[in-house]
Amino acid sequence: MSDNIIEVRDLVKHFPVRVGVLFKRTVGHVRAVDGVSFDLKRGETLGVVGESGCGKSTLAQVLMRLEPATGGSVKFEGQEILGLKGSALRKLRRDIQIVLQDPYTSLNPRMTVGDIVGEPFEIHPEVAPKGDRRKKVQDLLDVVGLNPEHINRYPHQFSGGQRQRIGIARALALRPKVIVCDEPVSALDVSIQAQVMNLLGDLQNEFGLSYIFIAHDLSVVRHLSDRVAVMYLGKVVEIGDETALYEHPTHPYTQALLSAVPVPDPELRGQRQIIRLEGDVPSPVDPPSGCRFRTRCWKAQEVCAQEEPELMTRVGAHPSACHFAEEKSVVP
């Protein structure tokens, strides 16, 4: 068996932009994910960071088969999953689960916690026989740090952090091998965020899970990830080990992103070099030619508009998609 539990190659997801009331015409495509490749190793956490609109959540949806892909390939344990249907797809869903961002909208308010966490067993009855389910659900609640006696409560009786734990318990119910976490802590307060991050870390050790951890908060991603991929406008611009990427970033976008994160130490005020990016992210309907970051990049040359830089190792030890990649430390 190979080391990689998931292999993604040239994954593409375009959403058509349609106009017209009765006769809809397609006038363009939102290139949400536009040729993304990476591997997820067994037992590791791959962090995916990027600003809003970079395609990181669409990537999660496609990996989960919640959205059909436009092109490319995703292999889970060597098996292509993009074409799976029916019972084969259902079987796959046992192995890949998702934790969603908003604990307020991702739980059905009319179902009890027991029903929510136990629902996967209804769809996959082979995992837990009927008589056994209540016990299993209570065990799961215990694992994620909730009181098993609260099995008959409704989501509104829990706080945000507790709800996120319910979402995690539901994802764990079928003993998956991979969990895709789509911004699991961004809706939570700092003190609660730390609790949920520690829980995710503990569960990984206990159950040998692999995570794809999507977030916009670079500090959170660094804390949990072994490797990190940085996305910009539907593409991975840099990917590498957590230490290499944070301490020796080579892509200008990664450097700007890292330097813009405020450091909670007022004594470093004014001493850090902060790279200020001009303007906003361009529209993914009509991305810039060549390198997509060139419109905001201070290094941009003519070649950047003509040739799309490949994601490959130019300097240092990890790949980056920049013609002029060079190492630069921006984190104090």
Partner: protein
């Protein structure tokens, strides 16, 4: 905070010369709901001078936004009820001022920007119209003059092509642009004091950096007082002169920024700093604050933080801690503030 404060004579209104720009003094607010009375603010005091940045730090439900809404006079009443305290602007107690006087202060004395610019802007009017409206109503400007001023303001907040943008609707602006437009709107009447309620929480980091730069620049240029309400300890470290940390409707610690980060004077502040994942440090396990923030309907006895506090003693469960002064310029509502600072 009373010894060195010039309090106006009771009943007197109007500004007092030499008084601080803004003082919140022992403010109490309750929300009377069906489930009971939520004690949202329980004696909040702080003050801001011209040119100073006070960061109000706290988690959701700590009362930081309610304080701001009370200062602005935009608190929903009911369910909100102000049960005590004063808000003094140039020494004048705003809570006793007439509706007309309050309207005068709002916008030209104290202005506010909000977290979610998309819902704070009216979607059916152009951005220009929304800026011009206050100039025409409050300053009596003609449409033409107001338009000219609106374009200047958009230019001031560095919106490219302000002449074209002034005619556009909020949905045509990006998130960062909208926040800029809202800053332009808040500056229209030249306020002396700006309250920014989570101004960058909904924005991406690169845009957040742009907006914080802009706010800082404008503040320095105009020598404005700035209250920055946020839960982000990173943003606070970058811009604050002084910090007030709120918990369960109380200010638990007040200090200048550097001393607070160097050595917190309250266990809650300490715990917040410890639970933060850091970009520059990679640890394995984060320290967490056990438990949950208290329900404001049923605030724990004694120190409200005691059920979650690692240093809890018997006295904490029964006695509400007074504001200690463990060091010059620092306040801490902890029975053991002095020990905390001396590192015992």
């Amino acid at each position: 905070m009373s010894a060195n404060t010039t309090k106006p004579a009771p009943g007197r209104t109007g500004p007092v010369p030499g008084a601080p720009l803004l003082e919140v003094d022992d403010l109490f607010v309750e929300f009377r709901t069906r489930d009971g009375v939520a004690k949202v603010l329980n004696g909040v005091s702080y003050r801001v001078e011209a040119g100073e940045t006070l960061a109000v730090l706290g988690e959701s439900g700590s009362g930081k936004s309610v304080t701001a809404q009370t200062i602005m006079g935009i608190l929903d009443m009911p369910p909100g009820v102000i049960t005590g305290g004063e808000i003094r602007f140039h020494g004048e107690n705003l809570l006793r001022a007439s509706t007309n006087r309050r309207r005068e202060v709002r916008g030209s004395g104290i202005a506010m920007i909000f977290q979610d610019a998309l819902s704070a802007l009216n979607p059916v009017f152009t951005v220009g119209f929304q800026i011009e409206e206050q100039l025409r109503v409050r300053r009596g400007m003609s449409r033409k003059d107001a338009r000219k001023r609106a374009i200047e303001l958009l230019d001031l907040v560095k919106i490219p092509n302000p002449k074209g943008r002034v005619r556009q609707y909020p949905h045509e602006f990006s998130g960062g642009m909208r926040q800029r437009a809202m800053i332009a709107m808040s500056l229209a009447l030249d306020p002396e004091m700006l309250i920014a309620d989570e101004p960058t929480t909904a924005l991406d980091v690169t845009v957040q950096a742009q907006i914080m730069d802009l706010l800082k620049e404008i503040q320095v240029e105009r020598h404005m007082g700035l209250i920055l309400i946020t839960h982000d300890l990173g943003v606070v470290a970058e811009v604050a002169d002084r910090i007030a940390v709120m918990y369960a409707g109380r200010i638990v610690e007040q200090s200048d920024a550097i001393s607070l980060y160097r050595r917190p004077g309250h266990p809650y502040t300490q715990a917040l700093l410890d639970s933060l994942p850091r970009l520059d440090l990679k640890g394995t396990e984060l320290n967490t604050i056990k438990g949950l923030p208290p329900s404001l309907i049923n605030i724990p006895s004694g120190c409200p933080f005691h059920p979650r506090c690692p240093r809890v003693q018997d006295v904490c469960k029964t006695e509400v801690p007074a504001q200690h002064r463990p060091a010059p310029g620092r306040l801490s509502a902890c029975h053991f503030a002095e020990e905390l600072l001396s590192g015992e």
